[in-house]
Symmetry: C2
Subunit: 347 residues, 2 copies
């Protein structure tokens, strides 16, 4: 039971015997350590000839700077941290997000570390840990609240981060967000255009800022169109469950049931739609339905339901791009983007 104590030559043993470092190149070229280091980082004051020589040698031995060395010396970790929230209502949210981030950092020095934190309140502690121990150069958070304490904390310490979702803070910070207002407006308009006069909107997690944006726009648009609306926050109930399905069923039976429904979660929508059909509702005639879509499942089960797509992969991509620019020092106010919802009208 010997421990995996790294031997002198860390990593795969190359023909040469050990991992290439600056020293390797230095010996190979006869130049000093400093020169090699400088050259590799594009030192402006070097002769073209030496730069060539160094670059060649580096390529030959397959030099890759040691992360620990750089990090120790400069403090740069070349790591971005994703603080993952557990309350995934969107199907495969994590997968798409991570894939987006992965594609965005591929080709860069950066690695991605994921800190899954499922207890919302402890999520602040996770961020604090990252700050205190400088465990990453930048942070991506999701499920952002209106006065998110993580955002507060990172702003206080002037630490590079980007949030998936906006906040109400006065000081600007980098964010990328789904345009929930556009979503809500688009949905209401579509339903109203199709004849709906009483719209129910079902939203999850009432703690995210997204929620507020959706509700606000929903109510404004309802009013403008001169129709009625009601809001249901379905926070405590599991999105995919018999309970949720029953909710749809009960809704169908109600004498004053709505004639249009908007739902901000694909999973919840699926459950609810099943319940509605149980209750004999004919979708598209008795009740019109629109929901946010993040995977292909809903459309496979209910091909005729209108959806509005949020591209989580693209969000991951964009969040990362913003974050990298933020780390480079770009001011936060120029790093704020929204993604427009993409409507899929299926009928």
């Amino acid at each position: 039971m010997t421990k995996f104590r790294p031997d002198v030559s860390r990593g795969i043993r190359k023909p040469s015997g050990k991992r290439a470092t600056l020293k390797t190149i230095s010996e190979l070229t006869g130049l000093s350590l400093s020169t090699v280091s400088l050259s590799l980082r594009g030192g402006a004051s070097l002769k073209e000839e030496t730069r060539q020589k160094v670059a060649e040698a580096a390529a030959q031995v397959g030099y890759v700077p040691d992360r620990a060395g750089v990090r120790l010396r400069t403090g740069k970790t070349n790591v971005i941290a994703l603080v993952l929230d557990g309350s995934d209502e969107a199907i495969d949210f994590s997968r798409h997000m991570i894939r987006g981030i992965g594609d965005a950092i591929s080709g860069t020095r950066y690695h991605l570390t994921v800190m899954p934190e499922f207890d919302r309140s402890r999520s602040v502690e996770t961020v604090r840990y990252i700050l205190e121990n400088r465990t990453a150069d930048g942070v991506i958070i999701t499920h952002t609240g209106a006065r998110d304490r993580r955002v507060q904390l990172m702003m206080d310490h002037d630490f590079p981060f980007v949030s998936h979702g906006r906040t109400e803070f006065f000081t600007p910070h980098a964010f990328h967000d789904f345009h929930s207002e556009a979503f809500a407006e688009l949905a209401v308009e579509r339903l109203a255009d199709n004849g709906a006069r009483d719209i129910l909107i079902s939203v999850g997690d009432g703690t995210t800022n997204n929620y507020h944006n959706i509700i606000r726009t929903f109510e404004r648009t309802i009013a403008r169109r001169g129709i009625t609306g009601r809001v249901v926050v379905q926070d405590g109930i599991r999105p995919a469950s018999a309970e949720m399905r029953q909710f749809g069923r009960d809704l169908a039976d109600k004498p004053d049931r709505p004639d249009g429904i908007i739902c901000d979660s694909e999973t919840r929508a699926i459950s609810m739609l099943c319940g509605l059909e149980d209750g004999g509702v004919l979708l598209g005639r008795d009740i019109r339905f629109i929901c946010k879509q993040t995977s292909d499942i809903l459309s496979t089960v209910f091909p005729n339901v209108d959806t509005i797509e949020e591209d989580v992969y693209a969000a991951g991509l964009e969040l990362t791009r913003l974050l990298l620019r933020r780390i480079e020092g770009e001011p936060a106010e120029s790093l704020q983007t929204l993604s427009e919802p993409v409507a899929h009208w299926r009928s």
Copy 2:
């Protein structure tokens, strides 16, 4: 546009002004650097009194060893890498897996880095990169093939890893796997008990070893029960798609349609079931259906369909535990576990 160059005091400025290091404690206690370091790692040769003193001081200043320092000196990264495969047929696979890993490393020194690699062939390169650059102390891979080249590579270099899935290699390695054979057997038995005489099994990705195990057991069990069976590999077709639904539809119309179906993917099952219903099939009477379940969605949509559960969260937990023990030097042959399928008979 100033760069985020780490200042001298990295991390959150404590009251004291900068991050606590061994030196801080050394000065605080009057002991030497070496003593402090030794003491913190439980040096056996130290006076009880000094150990106390050091521990106290460390707690007081909130000392946490600098990862870069440790890593540079010892080569230990305190990182485990998850090489994530993109072809997620299981709903929320990534999320559950990551959550399991997260829970397993919480309280340890370890961080999780995720390397999303969606091109299967490049996945080997990802592993090679980790080995060459000693970017992690151990690796978790998923979607393991029978003669997986990543496994080969890591075994060749005696690098700690654990695979989600078994292989055919002679040399033992650490793994945790879903007991696919038990799954297949359980499913066939159940269907046969309920009167099925001709069973179709639909499997995805034919490159994983899982696939082989399922098929082999399927055919053996079929034979034993004296009934007929057929295998359909649905590799090229998207699990959630109109196409997949159509497959179910077409199946329903066939004169020689099977009277029992087994499916190893929840998503594919949902699509297929919709198609079958389109074709007028009465589930549970005309055709009996069993599928692998990794989320709650299928059961919400089709509450009466029998499922067999694979707990991906638990898999993440177990994989990590195994890996950590492997990193500690335990022999691979003692780090091989299977997870038993959990049947949910709903009718």
